[in-house]
């Protein structure tokens, strides 16, 4: 029954968008994090989405083919800003601290995108559910 697949596919998308929303929350929470070295400084994290194209990519027997998965997380490549702040306990020998490279505006846009995509897939599930119920009603005809 094709409707089972719709629920599975939209479910994988809900999952992936939730990971995206979570990483946005984490990035925003760490927006003002400071560090002593550029390597240790916080870098914004983003999920990489990948389409589930075959059975091998999902659990055996699960109706997820055609859905989406998070294949990994990547760091934002933007440079970490270096600020002279000798009074900061995190300051290095020269008195510099490294700020996170989180851009709040980008994160807000990501958040809205993730929320809209999530809502979209919820609507897909609702429509499929309504159609499934209508199909059951065929016995009353």
């Amino acid at each position: 029954m094709a409707f089972d697949n719709i629920f599975g596919i939209a479910g994988t998308a809900l999952n992936a968008q939730m990971v995206r929303l979570n990483s946005t929350a984490s990035n925003l929470a760490n927006a003002s994090t400071e560090a002593s070295t550029e390597e240790a400084a916080f870098k914004a994290k983003r999920p990489v989405f990948e389409a589930l194209l075959s059975d091998e990519m999902t659990n055996a027997g699960a109706q997820y083919v055609g859905g989406v998965k998070v294949s990994g997380m990547v760091d934002d490549q933007a440079p970490n800003i270096k600020v002279h702040d000798p009074g900061n306990p995190k300051a290095d020998a020269d008195g510099f601290v490294y700020l996170s490279n989180v851009n709040e505006v980008t994160e807000m846009v990501e958040m809205m995108g993730a929320a809209r995509s999530y809502q979209n897939n919820v609507e897909v599930i609702n429509t499929a559910k309504a159609l499934m119920m209508r199909t059951l009603d065929i016995t009353k005809a």
Binding site: A51, G66, V68, N121
Partner: protein
């Protein structure tokens, strides 16, 4: 059952195809943010033609089950996007939403046809 096959006509096959088309569009919507994903759609006319003309896998014993072949797998086409995107994804969410809504309405229309066929059969059986 032979009698019901002819009574329900094309709508029975159309219902299966329509639900599979909904699935294909759901896949597109799920992958709206996946880089390099190419949106697909069902070539409905070709799929319906192949369901009508092709024989199902033949069964050699009366105890074998019929294997339904909806034919959508062979009749998938790639959608041509209105604009290009930077990440190579060709899903246009608004277009897919509209398609999904329309496909859901078409599914209900096919259901309505089936319902009236079934109530017709039921009336005939009762002999009212």
């Amino acid at each position: 059952m032979k009698i019901f096959d002819s009574a329900l006509g094309i709508h029975e096959k159309a219902l299966g195809l329509r639900s599979q088309r909904l699935e294909v569009i759901a896949k597109n919507i799920a992958n709206a943010d996946t880089p390099h994903f190419k949106a697909q759609d069902v070539d409905f006319k070709a799929a319906l033609d192949s369901v009508e003309t092709s024989r199902n896998l033949s069964t050699t014993d009366s105890k074998h089950f019929d294997i339904p072949d909806m034919g959508t797998g062979r009749n998938l086409v790639y959608s041509v996007p209105f604009g290009n995107s930077l990440d190579g994804n060709t899903v246009e969410l608004n277009v897919e939403q509209a398609k999904y809504g329309k496909a859901a309405a078409q599914y209900q229309a096919t259901l309505r046809f089936l319902e009236s066929d079934i109530s017709g059969i039921r009336k005939a059986l009762k002999g009212e």
